[in-house]
């Protein structure tokens, strides 16, 4: 699982039947200092309460579909929680040359 920021929504009228009623959000994966890392993704919202601007964590692969009410849906990324806080160890500050 990884941190991500919700940056948009996706509206699709014509969908494969398994995706009917599934809310789709555009997310930007983040590193542990909440800086963008990697490409943006479309993820299904399994908590039904995430919205643009929120810090969330998501699960990828087959487990994403497990998060949905019907686990046999074509979903490969799902938001499974809204983050209240991330606390890092003291002294763990962002540095420029971090991998």
């Amino acid at each position: 699982m990884q941190l991500a920021r919700v940056i948009g929504t996706v509206v699709a009228t014509v969908k494969t039947p398994g995706l009917q009623g599934v809310k789709l959000l555009v997310i930007q994966p983040l590193d542990r200092h909440q800086r963008p890392v990697g490409g943006q993704l479309v993820a299904a919202d399994a908590v039904h309460m995430a919205g643009p601007g929120e810090l969330v964590y998501f699960v990828a692969a087959r487990e994403a579909a497990q998060a949905m009410p019907d686990p046999f849906v074509p979903v490969d990324h799902a938001i499974v929680g809204i983050v209240d806080a991330v606390s890092l160890l003291p002294g763990d500050e962002p540095v420029r040359d971090e991998p």
């Binding site: 699982m1 990884q2 941190l3 590193d31 542990r32 399994a46 908590v47 309460m49 964590y57 699960v59 990828a60 692969a61 087959r62 487990e63 994403a64 579909a65 497990q66 998060a67 686990p71 799902a78 499974v80 929680g81 809204i82 983050v83 209240d84 806080a85 991330v86 606390s87 890092l88 160890l89 763990d92 971090e98 991998p99």
Partner: protein
């Protein structure tokens, strides 16, 4: 499985029901020498790992659900061990001839220790009849 170091915690109240009551730890991925390999994972704790500890991370869904005893849960990443030491050639690739182990707190923790029930079982009175004490 992967080696990681617990770098922090993630707190979440609105989440998928399978995550209720579970601890989420943010773990940096490590190479065998104990250096950051780049990237991190948010993992569900199953052993009681603490901040700064080197841990063993399982990143595969079926096994993860088996470890947690949660079939059907959307969980893929679980901490399954606390690493005491890593030894061997992989650890000494940088400086040959100087074996070196990952520094970590050597702890042996029982997973999910069950606390004894604080109250003693109540002695029940016989319903509607006199108790044994009254006979004496």
């Amino acid at each position: 499985m992967k080696l990681g170091r617990v770098a922090g915690t993630v707190v979440s109240t609105i989440n998928a029901p399978a995550f209720d009551g579970r601890t989420l730890l943010l773990c940096d991925l490590l190479d065998p020498a104990g250096k950051r390999a780049g990237g991190y994972l948010i993992a569900v704790d199953s052993v009681g790992a603490g901040a700064g500890e080197t841990v063993l991370i399982l990143d595969e869904g079926t096994s993860a659900r088996q470890v947690l005893g949660a079939p059907g849960a959307p969980i893929r990443t679980v901490i399954v061990g606390i690493v005491d030491a890593v030894t061997g050639d992989a650890v000494t690739t940088e400086k040959p001839g100087t074996p070196r182990a990952i520094t970590g707190t050597a702890t042996t923790k029982e997973p999910h220790p069950k606390e004894p029930h604080p109250k003693e079982p109540r002695r029940r009175r016989h319903g509607g009849t006199r108790s044994d004490a009254d006979h004496g």
